[in-house]
């Protein structure tokens, strides 16, 4: 067997977030299998720190560098410098000019598929009416893609689905709650809440409940499926029916595969897509075992998912 990388450096954009916590879990698990270590430096959403962190890894001379950009454009010079230092780089998240390879879920597709399911549900249970409140995060291209995908997807079933309120929930629960509260106060007829991550969808749902409304004619769709929050919600909240799961552990696992391949100078495709799937009702049980506060992925089920060869849309398409 060709030799494998021993030290892998990972610059994560937002390491304290549950999603990336699980990505890292996946990475470390797989790295352990090949006897490698993964060191993580967290940019914590600070673009300057991101560059510094990568710099430090190059100085430390890790074998492979994995980067999740805080912002795609912001790492272009970094790639240039890594090349100069012959440091193989795997990108996670979004494509960047001058990259060798990227592992990503397709944010747009994820939202799209969830949208389709939401459309079907609305047709059967909500009398074909779809008045959507999007608890979004315009700050990041990935999350914008999800929201766009969701609306496009739902419109394939319900052409006149309406985006009643397009919110900036800041991606965190309390802000999501706050803005949703205002939006719901203004548009009582909203019947679908889409959140670009679980914090956002739950924030929206909590705003709904705080307004003292019943969940009978409501559909909540979340994205990410990073932690236990959505499982808890799907169990306990009647309206929380659909989760666009993105399997962070799998994403991490796939990223390490790419890192190995790159290290071994193998041919690697420019885009490696990690699978996502909308989960309805109890579907999550197919993919996860939950014991107390820890969840473990069921790899067979997850690996059985076939990702698309290419994403329908990427950050590049937003520029237009």
């Amino acid at each position: 067997a060709a030799d494998t990388p021993k030290r892998i450096g990972y610059v994560v954009n937002y390491g304290t977030h549950e999603w990336y916590q699980n990505v890292i879990k996946g990475m470390k698990a797989h790295a352990a299998e090949i006897g490698a270590t993964v060191e993580v430096k967290d940019a914590n959403l600070d673009v300057a720190k991101e560059v510094s962190a990568a710099e430090d890894f190059i100085a430390q001379g890790v074998d492979v560098l994995i980067i999740t950009p805080v912002n795609e454009e912001g790492v272009v010079p970094l790639l240039k410098r890594a090349k100069a230092a012959n440091m193989p780089v795997v990108l996670e998240g979004n494509p960047v000019k001058g990259m060798t390879t990227m592992v990503a879920i397709c944010d747009y597709d994820t939202g799209y598929m969830a949208g389709v399911e939401a459309g079907k549900y609305a047709k059967d249970h909500l009398g074909g009416v779809a008045k959507v409140m999007n608890v979004g995060l315009p700050l990041l291209s990935a999350t914008v893609l999800r929201s766009n995908g969701f609306m496009d997807g739902i419109r394939t079933i319900i052409p006149d689905a309406k985006l009643v309120h397009d919110l900036d929930g800041g991606g965190n629960p309390d802000r999501a709650l706050e803005v949703s509260t205002a939006a719901l106060a203004q548009n009582p007829d909203i019947n679908i809440i889409y959140g670009i991550n679980d914090s956002s969808s739950l924030g929206g749902l909590q705003a709904w409940k705080a307004a003292g409304k019943s969940q009978d004619n409501l559909l909540v769709v979340g994205t990410g499926g990073e932690g236990l929050a959505f499982i808890n919600a799907m169990e306990k909240e009647p309206s929380y029916k659909i989760e666009a799961a993105m399997f962070p552990e799998k994403e991490g696992y796939t990223t390490i595969d790419a890192a190995i391949a790159l290290y071994q100078k193998k041919e690697v495709p420019e885009h490696i897509v990690s699978p996502t799937a909308p989960m309805m009702g109890d579907d999550w049980k197919k993919f996860y075992d939950v014991a107390g506060t820890t969840r473990t992925p069921k790899w067979d089920a997850i690996n059985a998912l076939t990702p698309p060869a290419k994403c329908m849309k990427t950050a590049a398409d937003l520029k237009k």
């Binding site: 430096k41 959403l45 673009v47 510094s52 430090d56 100085a59 010079p77 240039k80």
Partner: protein
């Protein structure tokens, strides 16, 4: 009585800070020097790749952004005002820089554009604070919000890439003098020396100290108090602009996210460096030490592969302990 950390204060200033030596022997600064040495020594032994020329120079480069902006913020503090707008300014001034470069393919024009916007921001901050007399924390906090919002509106929350890719621009933030010292570090060092000289050996520098120490007295001594403060704000914005330009080069684009929370980092470093929030007290030398301590700390902890949460906790503790320790020693003496 405004809150004040009175580091850098001693009953007997070596001849009004005549020579560098006098400054080095200033009690609070000595504390920081020791702290920095201890810190570096610690990481040198614990973190494998820490004590390599490559890494040490890297850190100097990384520190220089906060260092350059810190000079300006420190000067504003010394003049008895505050400037917390530097974070958003970093994102804002990068826009004309990149946009103009993309249109004209000229680095010079781009820089001019960035500095022009930086100047404008400084003038507004300075005018509202010094001449209109609105509390400068309010002015610059407002400016922080306005600029950030403005950046988001203008860019639609997407980064503006540098389509021209001039090597000269790339070099600014990413290459090193003689392949050893990163250019940002060189810039920071030069600016630091210049302003240390100005603050100690030019009448203007002393005016800034006097105005911050006691504005009324300064006025009685015939100083144009408002003008002095105004100039300090302009200096601060221009220096922050320079740091923004270097950052933009490192990012190869104008990123709408850049500088988020930067003002916190800088203020923390400046205060850690012994610059009083009540004005009139503190040295740029101390500020520089403050910046270096925080930079080496974050680099070293990263090298130890410590989780962010631990890094935050430790940094927080060290800031408090450092200031507390110095305060204690000051009162003992």
């Amino acid at each position: 009585m405004p809150p004040s950390v009175s580091l850098g204060r001693s009953n007997r200033l070596g001849a009004g800070a005549v020579d560098a030596f006098a400054v080095l022997t200033r009690r609070s600064d000595i504390t920081l020097v020791v702290a920095l040495i201890v810190l570096i020594a610690f990481f040198a032994f614990t973190a494998e790749y820490f004590f390599t020329l490559r890494n040490l120079t890297n850190v100097l480069g990384q520190a220089s952004l906060a260092m350059i902006a810190g000079i300006g913020v420190a000067i504003v503090f010394i003049s008895g005002e505050v400037d917390v707008s530097v974070g958003s300014l970093q994102a804002a001034v990068a826009i004309p820089l990149i946009v103009i470069m993309n249109h004209t393919e000229s680095l010079t024009l781009g820089l001019a554009g960035a500095l022009a916007l930086g100047l404008a921001i400084g003038v507004v901050n300075g005018y509202l604070s010094a001449y209109v007399g609105i509390n400068s924390l309010i002015v610059t906090l407002g400016m922080l919000f306005v600029l950030r919002g403005g950046v988001y509106l203008y860019t639609g929350k997407t980064a503006i890439p540098d389509d021209v890719g001039l090597d000269s621009f790339f070099a600014l933030g990413n290459e090193s003098l003689f392949g050893v010292v990163p250019y940002p570090a060189v810039v920071a060092f030069v600016l630091l020396l210049v302003f240390m000289y100005v603050m100690r050996h030019r009448p203007f520098g002393r005016m800034v100290y006097a105005v911050g120490g006691n504005a009324e007295v300064a006025r009685l001594a015939g100083y144009p108090v408002r003008w002095v403060k105004f100039v300090c704000f302009v200096i601060s914005s221009l220096l922050a602009t320079i740091s923004a330009i270097l950052l933009a080069s490192r990012l190869g684009s104008a990123v709408h996210l850049s500088g988020l929370g930067f003002e916190f980092q800088v203020v923390a470093a400046v205060v850690l460096g012994g610059v009083s929030l009540s004005g009139g007290i503190g040295s740029l030398f101390g500020m520089a030490l403050g910046v270096l301590i925080l930079s080496f700390l974050s680099n070293g902890l990263g090298m130890l592969d410590l989780a962010t949460e631990w890094q935050l906790v430790i940094t927080g503790i060290i800031i408090i302990v450092a200031v507390a320790f110095d305060e204690l020693k000051r009162r003992r003496a």
